[in-house]
Subunit: 335 residues, 2 copies
């Protein structure tokens, strides 16, 4: 029988997790890491903080990915929010809730993923908390980043005439999630690319940082609940409307092929799917060239999907010569 966290006990488990977590990299801002009452970061600017929890059965199933991948993913989701605010990740805190029957090896695999995920974004794990619970696994991550003082980022700077850009291939993650939920479907390459987009999101964090530092975006946010709902949020914060072009949104051949083969609603994946962890940007027309060059330097697939319009025009989708109102649909955890 594999050893469980209940067999091991809290203190020994925490010690084993700490052994997996590496020290902060040289030159990092971590002054005090795990193992004290709190972590200490030296600070050369503003501090940017975000938190997100991943709950088993709500956000993931353990059969969908191994523990290391789950750790990488939990970090990426939080790093995405930092990038959208133009902040360089520095440290991550992790609070784990583990059923007593959870296998120790699984937890140590998770710790490896958390460690490697933090490294991927030039940060480290600086603290955390472990509790044994009845029920399901949950992984809460709080990410801290730093940003030069005086920089601005957020959702409220868009104005009529700005171009709307997104990074990455929206909807693939949502399609991947649906494919993982289906019982034993044989997946082709296109479907596997969608599954990978869900399992291993790659938020363009460094690109987001450059966009804020070089003042190339008027407004920016990460797309986590689906483009439609997140665009509504950006428009509300900025007091503007938006017009999207369907031809630019639904042109991903990979998603199209996977959707057709497996009977998925491609449109719903793109607009309402969620978990893309890509960026939605409002870019002044005269900054669009620099924006595109920055995307190229960062090897980020950025695409123009429409434009910002006056608030009275609402939020619409242009398709087949007509315009329809875009509903604020997205993932509601509670529905």
């Amino acid at each position: 029988m594999a050893r469980t966290v209940a067999d091991m006990g809290e203190i020994e488990l925490v010690t084993a997790i700490m052994e997996v977590l590496a020290d902060a990299p040289d030159g990092s801002s971590v002054r005090v890491g795990p193992g004290n009452d709190a972590a200490v970061l030296s600070c050369a600017g503003d501090v940017v903080l975000t938190t997100d929890s991943q709950h088993e059965t709500v956000h993931f199933e353990t059969r969908w990915m191994d523990a290391r991948q789950l750790g990488l993913r939990a970090i990426a989701i939080n790093a995405s929010d930092l990038g959208a605010m133009g902040a360089r990740p520095t440290g991550f805190l992790v609070a784990l809730a583990l059923p007593k029957a959870t296998e120790v090896d699984w937890v140590l695999g998770l710790a490896e993923g958390l460690r490697d995920g933090a490294r991927r974004y030039d940060g480290s794990i600086i603290g955390g908390d472990v509790a044994a619970v009845e029920g399901a696994i949950s992984i809460n991550v709080t990410a801290a980043g730093e940003r030069a003082p005086g920089l601005r980022a957020g959702r409220d700077g868009a104005r009529s005439g700005d171009e709307l850009w997104v990074t990455g291939w929206l909807g693939r993650a949502a399609a991947g999630r649906q494919l993982l939920q289906s019982v034993s479907v044989e997946l082709g390459d296109d479907a596997l690319a969608c599954v990978r987009a869900f399992v291993d999101p790659a938020p363009p964090v460094r690109f987001g940082v450059e966009l804020v530092e070089a003042e190339l975006v008027a407004a920016m946010m990460d797309i986590s609940d689906g483009l439609a709902i997140d665009l509504h949020r950006l428009c509300r914060a900025s007091g503007v409307g938006a017009r999207l072009e369907a031809t630019r949104l639904f042109d991903d051949p990979t998603l199209a092929a996977a959707a057709q083969r497996h009977g998925l609603d491609r449109r719903d994946c793109v607009l309402g799917g969620g978990e893309d962890y890509e960026l939605l940007c409002a870019v002044r027309a005269d900054a669009a060239g620099d924006f595109q060059r920055a995307a190229k330097r960062h090897d980020v697939a950025a695409r123009s999907i429409g434009e910002v319009v006056a608030p009275g025009e609402g939020i619409t989708l242009l398709e087949d010569g007509g315009a329809e109102s875009l509903e604020s649909s997205g993932w509601d955890h509670f529905s």
Copy 2:
């Protein structure tokens, strides 16, 4: 029927919670609060970060206290860690996991408690995350604080000859927890004082900050898992032993009366109970006078409980003329 979070939906619930949360106080370091991808704090020193989760059935039952009290408590527990590191609280992030049947009014009461708890320590709620789950409620709080650069705090500075001090009345919270767990016991005033110590902990955060800023402690930590286990941690980090005096540890008449009346193990409450959220301090003998005066100014009940000794002497408890080894016992979530 009371309205549940599933009736309301995620977006409306988050909006309602945001209405309860107050703006950050004037002059605070909060530059961007809730409602963006991440919060932003301006930073005038080091940033201190800690996280702690409270899980229903593991850490609390909803019948033990109302929602507002639970929110106050979740903040206090995290503020305690900041105080032990000498950091002034600035902002708190809260990640909630709520069963779909949770009543909206309960959640808004929780939000009030979180808001008022943050205010109590001169901070505010700066962000969060809400998810609907199967199973039990959990409340994760991450606390951020600031500390002047160059200050030191932690567990590793104690040396032989230091005096050991604690704040507050250890063991009352553990006794209170046991009393809450018993089925309908009629409680006298002493027992009620213990219940209050559990329900409404009052960590001496400002006192902790002054101790670090005035360099009055050689080592410090908060007592959250029980004195015995936490003292072992401090001694291990500092490479020292310790000698405690039983007469100074077990002299709380309130705990004594409650323990006697309700058949509780007073000794176990004090040494292994946990959830005290008080401070354990190693104080150089020549700083003890200033330490006591600071405690008096902050209206903190601080008591000397023993001294730091050479590592070879181990960790012992002097009682009735004899010395016994003090086991590293405490609350193990996984046992």
